[in-house]
């Protein structure tokens, strides 16, 4: 029932978004415009849903309300790997789409591993330290991007701008969208399947084990699947911030902290949010959606940070 409600909520937002174009609001006239808006809305929804899904999972597993793919550096790591991969000459081979996904996943996981390694202290991850390390890693990823851009003597400023500002990749092949859709669907099913156990991951290790949950295995599985969802989205877009932060928190206000309800609700909110952001971007002359989510998420993040400090920095 809840899943149907989520799907219906997203569908309303998606249909509404499809009615928004660069020339104004109205049902698209002509097959070409309809097809463009449909694909753009679908891609934006997939990316938003993937990022929100990853965000809600990171927050549960890390017991950190500020965790999300962008702030942890996973998004920029995945995007950087895709950019580096696509600048290499052999990326145009037949398997380019799949290898782009693989590059994104490798980049995302590698960045996450580095962030964890640097942020952990005796096995504990403090929320603010994690964020600080995420910010530093994001900055390094940005510098690496510029280095690759310079060394490759690339003149594709559009691509560069997309990476830096978080835009959706245009002219996607159907196979690329299908790959992202399959990876997202698989991630969603797996995370929904373990959503009950994710509730337990909010408890201490001893309590989780005494309730029958193999907590280390669960945490690793959830982190890998969430990173897979992030990476698959980043393979077709630049690093889009704050979707994975805002949606879980809004979802919590709607349905509480039960991951069995929160995961589908936050995911639907992510899909709807980015579909609406994409429509707004069309109205604003194809402004990258990352700019819009940044305007929305930045103040929201500061509010959460302030609240987190007020409560003593605990999760």
């Amino acid at each position: 029932m809840l899943l149907l409600l989520c799907a219906a909520g997203w569908a309303v937002a998606a249909v509404g978004s499809m009615m928004v174009g660069s020339t104004g609001i109205g049902w698209p006239k002509g097959e070409l415009i309809w097809s463009f808006r449909r694909e753009s809305t679908l891609v934006a929804s997939l990316i938003g849903a993937s990022l929100a899904l990853a965000g809600v999972t990171y927050q549960a597993v890390l017991r950190n309300p500020l965790a999300e793919p962008y702030l942890l550096g996973v998004s920029s790591g995945a995007s950087l790997a895709v950019f580096a991969w696509s600048t290499m000459s052999f990326a145009s081979l037949q398997l380019a789409n799949i290898s782009q996904q693989a590059a994104a996943f490798t980049g995302g996981i590698a960045t996450l591993a580095i962030v964890f390694l640097l942020a952990q202290r005796r096995g504990r991850l403090e929320p603010l330290t994690l964020l600080l390390v995420g910010v530093i890693v994001n900055a390094i990823n940005g510098a690496l991007f510029l280095l690759i851009f310079f060394l490759a003597r690339s003149t594709d400023l559009q691509k560069a701008f997309r990476f830096l500002a978080g835009g959706l990749q245009p002219d996607l092949a159907p196979s690329q969208i299908i790959t992202v859709a399959i990876l997202f669907a698989a991630s969603l099913v797996i995370l929904l399947a373990i959503s009950g156990q994710l509730n337990i991951s909010m408890l201490s290790e001893a309590e989780a084990q005494s309730l029958g949950v193999r907590i280390h295995r669960l945490r690793w599985a959830a982190m890998i699947v969430a990173s897979l969802a992030t990476a698959s989205a980043m393979a077709i877009s630049g690093p889009i911030g704050f979707v994975g932060l805002v949606c879980p928190h809004v979802g919590r206000l709607l349905v509480g902290n039960d991951q069995r309800k929160l995961i589908p609700v936050a995911t639907a909110l992510g899909a709807a949010l980015l579909a609406v952001a994409d429509a707004s971007s069309r109205m604003m002359g194809q402004l990258p959606v990352g700019v819009l989510t940044g305007f929305l998420g930045g103040p929201f993040f500061l509010f959460l940070l302030w609240q987190n400090r007020k409560t003593g920095g605990g999760a």
């Binding site: 156990q197 001893a206 084990q209 005494s210 029958g212 902290n257």
Partner: protein, 264 residues
């Protein structure tokens, strides 16, 4: 029904349990058993190995020696099945302040949930039954941060009972509770053991309260089990003085004598 002449079969038996953190031996060849319907209080000074023993018996950590749970070695129990037999309440249980009491109780059924966290009618009925037993019905919609320390502790015990365990391990459950709530909690544990045939093992720092409510006391000192028996057998000034390193005085009372540290 057990006849008066035969003892009930132990639900858990531990033989020669030892455990060391790095090279520091915390527990040394402890042997014990737990019977259904019995409250056993584990007493001893800080660092005597109480928490370590409880964690070993729950299967949360592993040392040397043998633990048999319902005639099967503890190591061979699958984690989910173990959680349906053994419940554990740590000294400081974790909770999300915004979580509702009903949500916390339902977590206890996690070891019964199927994929996607689907709950059966029996799961919901068990939560309702335990909420009723612990008089938590009026609190079910309350946030955890709106409860008193005593109420919160009852919720955590409820979460353990929702697991429908045969054994309940509690690590210093009286911490943070005032006297009235301490007494209420111990009465509750006594009722659960005697009327619901639960085996209860709790670590306690209050030797007199433990003596008043537990059927048996186990005294740990420097990782060794130095005494085990009824309160009047274990709460002996010489034994307790030696274990705690402080001279004790004995004050007679109707049920059993009370022990207090000699202040001057």
């Amino acid at each position: 029904m057990t006849s008066p002449t035969t003892l009930p079969t132990p639900v858990l038996t531990a033989t020669n349990l030892s455990f060391a953190y790095s090279e520091h031996l915390v527990l040394h060849e402890v042997s014990m058993e737990l019977l259904p319907g019995q409250v056993v209080a584990l007493i001893g000074p800080n660092g005597s190995g109480k928490s370590t023993l409880i964690k070993l018996l729950c299967g949360l950590i592993h040392g040397s020696g043998d633990i048999t749970l319902r005639d099967q070695p503890l190591r061979r129990w699958r984690r989910r099945l173990l959680a349906r037999t053994v419940a554990y309440l740590p000294q400081s249980p974790t909770y999300e302040p915004a979580d509702r009491v009903a949500e916390v109780l339902r977590l206890g059924r996690a070891c019964y949930w199927t994929a996607f966290g689907l709950e059966t009618d029996h799961d919901l009925a068990t939560v309702a039954r335990i909420a009723n037993l612990l008089e938590l019905n009026d609190l079910l919609d309350r946030r955890m941060d709106q409860l008193s320390g005593g109420q919160r502790q009852r919720v955590f015990i409820g979460r353990c009972l929702v697991q429908e365990p045969a054994i309940l391990f509690l690590d210093e459950p009286n911490t943070y509770l005032d006297l009235k709530h301490q007494v209420d909690l111990l009465k509750l544990l006594q009722t659960l053991a005697h009327e619901h045939h639960l085996a209860v093992l709790m670590a306690s720092h209050d030797i007199n309260l433990a003596g008043a409510f537990a059927d048996e006391l186990m005294l740990l000192s420097e990782g060794r089990l130095t005494a085990r028996g009824r309160a009047d057998q274990v709460l002996q000034p010489a034994l307790i003085s030696q274990a705690y390193g402080v001279e004790m005085i004995q004050i007679p009372s109707p049920d059993h004598s009370l022990l207090f540290p000699k202040l001057c």
